[in-house]
């Protein structure tokens, strides 16, 4: 049906994922202050993209499937966004605190 990706593609993706795992492990040992979590999440997002586009083969799926996958992340952003709108704005009230 769809084009069949080559073994070389899969092995390359796997090697990249493994290298990135080592990178995320060693970067965590370096004190970057608040940037540690940022770097860790950027690497995690990149690894996720590799898995989604190559292992899950999203790039070869129909436009509708791609739309649904994007929709999932949109709703995830809404969920996390509402979490922060709630918790951050609590301290704006007089005498208010985060908890």
């Amino acid at each position: 049906m769809h084009e069949v990706p080559s073994v070389r593609t899969y092995v390359t993706v796997w090697a990249t994922l493994t290298i990135l795992t080592f990178v995320t492990y060693y970067v965590a040992q370096i004190d970057l202050g608040p940037w540690n979590i940022v770097v860790a999440l950027i690497i995690a997002f990149f690894k996720m993209s590799l898995v989604i586009f190559f292992f899950m083969n999203l790039k070869a799926e129909s436009a509708l499937t791609k739309l649904f996958a994007a929709g999932g992340f949109f709703w995830m952003i809404l969920l996390l966004g509402q979490f922060f709108v709630d918790y951050v704005s609590r301290s704006w009230m007089p005498g208010g605190k985060m908890w």
Partner: protein, 241 residues
């Protein structure tokens, strides 16, 4: 999307796997894939709630969460990440073999995927056992004194964080626990797909069950890709310990 679509559609009129409510094998495959993605979206929201709660508590108690690195063994986490990524590779190769219709290869790669999945659970089991022995399971109030570092000269910073660190461990056990549960289900799915593969029902025309099981397996892999840095590598660089 290639020119081969038309050719497959013609042949598929004879495929015994084409359900009558679909026009073509292509349409049937796309529907199944879309359905699986919809299921995975509900899973994103399921784990998303836990990640959201984790983020709120981490922003409330950043130092306490960072202090938990003392209790974690990142070697377990790193090993499990490696094992899971290899299992995703073998799963992707199983799907590839199914698409090419090579019966033997499907079975070999499914068995390999299952072995790596079980290896993950075994490592996780050893890790849980270590937490249990170290009294790091925040389950029994009678054991909470193990979290009290107030008289511990080796860990002077731990005392003020002991209580809040238990919150991180609650997240740790819930998130990795649900992840392990998904792995267990995944191994069950692998067994089912393997039985189907042994009956030789998969071909280059019909490999949908292998494909959507692969989607599930890779999703569980993605959850771990986020769990590893968020739970194991929080405060490694900070000199709280």
């Amino acid at each position: 999307m290639t020119e081969s679509h038309g050719a497959v559609a013609e042949h598929s009129e004879h495929s015994p796997h084409l359900r009558h409510h679909f026009d073509s094998m292509e349409q049937q495959f796309d529907s199944a894939t879309l359905g699986m993605w919809v299921f995975l979206l509900t899973e994103i929201m399921f784990f998303g709630g836990m990640f959201g709660a984790y983020t709120v508590y981490r922003s409330l108690y950043p130092d306490a969460f960072a202090s938990t690195s003392l209790h974690m063994n990142p070697a377990f986490g790193a090993a499990n990440t490696a094992v899971l990524i290899v299992s995703s590779l073998t799963m992707a190769l199983a799907v590839r073999s199914a698409r090419l219709g090579s019966q033997k290869a499907i079975q070999i790669f499914l068995i390999l995927t299952m072995i790596f999945g079980i290896a993950f659970l075994v490592i996780k089991g050893f890790e849980y056992h270590e937490h249990w022995v170290d009294n790091k399971v925040p389950l029994f109030p009678t054991q909470w004194h193990h979290w009290d570092y107030s008289n511990d000269a080796e860990h002077p910073h731990q005392a003020q964080y002991a209580k809040q660190a238990q919150i991180l461990f609650c997240f740790y056990f819930f998130m990795t626990g649900f992840h392990a549960l998904h792995m267990l289900v995944g191994v069950g799915i692998m067994i089912t797909i393997l039985m189907m593969a042994r009956r030789g029902i998969f071909s280059h025309q019909y490999f949908t069950p292998v494909e959507i099981s692969g989607l599930y397996w890779h999703f569980v892999d993605i959850v771990w890709i986020f769990l590893f840095p968020l739970l194991y590598l929080i405060g490694n660089a900070r000199k709280l310990i």
